[in-house]
Amino acid sequence: MKRYDLIVVGAGPSGLSAAIEAARCGLTVAVFDENAKPGGQLFKQIHKFFGSKEHQAKIRGYKIGETLLSEADAVGVKVFLNATVSGMYMDKEILVRRGDAMEHCKADAIIIATGASENMVTFDGWTLPGVIGAGAAQTMMNLYSIQPGQRVLMLGSGNVGLVVSFQLMQAGCEVIALVDASPRIGGYGVHASKIARCGVPFYLSHTITKAEGPDCITGVEISQVDDHFTPIPGTQKHFDVDTICMAVGLSPMSQLLKMAGCSMIDDPRRGGQVPLVDENGETSIPGIFAAGDVSGIEEASSAMIEGRMSGLSAAAYLGFLSEKDKDSSLNELEVALNSLHQGMFAPGSKGKAFTKTDEGIAVSQSLLKKGYLDEADIARFNHFDKKSGVHPVIECTQNIPCNPCQDACPKDCIKIGKTITALPRIDADSTCTGCGMCVASCSGQAIFLVDEDYEPGYASITLPYEFLPRPQKGDLGTALSRSGQPLGVAEIIDVRSAKAFDHTTLVTMKVPVAQAMTARFYKREAQRAEL
């Protein structure tokens, strides 16, 4: 039987992070993963991450995955792929299936980082081909470069539903509508706004009542739901779609921990059956740790920190790291983790309806119900003295853990402060040069550069653009409002790409000055004719 100091199950963000930390302390580490490729879901995450520098904010998920893999390789972590761990027994022994063979392996410590699986909801016709999970959509388009469908309806307005909807549009698919039984959008408002300004409608307090089609999806019927989430007869709406995508939550894959006899609890806030763990991820069995989504559904940034914490704790448990060194490293990581656990979307805030931001500003109800800020909301959040010339307009109105904009500005024009969930403020004394670094750095694509004095009667608006084909200087198209409504003709006066922008193109359009605070997106000429 093969022996290691540490076995990690799962080569996703938390498992790899754990393995790297432990290997750095001198442990021999083996990572087992049932998939053919390592990295878990990271390689499907093509958006810029939130957080701050230590959380690798504004870096796209797949880049973080590449870094983790090369780090793991550099410190000698052995990653076994196509290796399904199907059992965990007493004395830290595991059973691994590799091909047609079963193998036993043993370690002195084990970290379970198996992640989560997707939930689903059932409705009439839900088993028809064409009904897929949001993860399936991401796998198809971002790993295997194939469109999951042409016309897609998304069920679920949490961050997964919002992010995948945007990615579907980036892959050239049409998102027909976003539907959620909840009366409020569950994910970040900035993610919803990216979709809303492309014209995608949100149907809150609605659910799917029927997937239509003879042998694969040709349409979908949605209905409004009452306060008890029961469909209201007579409220049906029909859409022609070929794909229905479900993003209705995740459940921890904690079976191995249960099998090994770890104390489990049922915690809806953490997504279901999770192990009881201490602050470093150690379960009720000494030497067995859990990290990442398996111990409570969050996201990849916190999974990586939890992984590192469990890796260090496992090293200390086996005597490879002094208690003193462990404590100092863990303290630092705890601070980083805590900063992600603040604000309106913190794990402890699940289900809470906030009426005011931490700053005491009334939240935008329009953002929660329709996916975009209305004009009255903008005035509340953008209170600065308008100066002549170009200046940033930041449409970030919820307390989310993210601060890359603060570091992006070379003129220190944008301030967030130490609490990374605070709303960004614009320093009226600094002078914006229009460099666009803030626009490209904003993971939520919520920063625009506006110049009301571009030309007499005309304003310029610079916006982040991540679709193909990219507009060209001189193009004429249509300016769209925050809700995706056409406002009139817009002329593209500048298109900027730079390595520092990381695939985000900055498009500057000229619009009548009256639209300076309403135009937020651009539709190309070819699409204009269809309006």
């Binding site: 064409g130 009904v131 897929i132 388009m141 470069s145 194939i146 193909l468």
Partner: protein, 106 residues
């Protein structure tokens, strides 16, 4: 065509070698090493199997080898998860009917 040849973030797609395979006896093309399910989807195949009791169609659902909805008969072996099984030149794929091959009338 539903393949994404150019992506705003991921750039140009690098494909493997183009290979031929057989779907219910008909020749199709895909890229070596990509999941069978992807090659089938590119060729417009949505139905992977029919359930045993109610003869209901099933296709791709999770795309990560977890749900087993997309299983088919591959080179004579039933219950192969096509979403995680790499395509090989000359593979014979058959729509699964229960646990056997669907009879295809040419």
């Amino acid at each position: 065509m539903n393949r994404i040849s150019e992506h705003p973030i991921l750039g140009n797609t690098e494909m493997g070698r183009k290979v031929a395979f057989f779907m219910d006896g008909k020749q199709m093309e895909g890229y070596e090493g990509e999941p069978i399910a992807v090659a089938l989807k590119a060729g417009g195949v949505m139905i992977h199997r029919y359930t045993q009791k109610n003869h209901e169609p099933r296709g791709i659902f999770c795309a990560i080898g977890r749900c087993t909805d997309c299983v088919m008969i591959v080179d004579g072996v039933p219950n192969i998860r096509t979403c995680i099984t790499p395509l090989v030149s000359g593979m014979r794929i058959q729509t699964q009917d229960g646990v056997t091959a669907l009879e295809v009338t040419e």
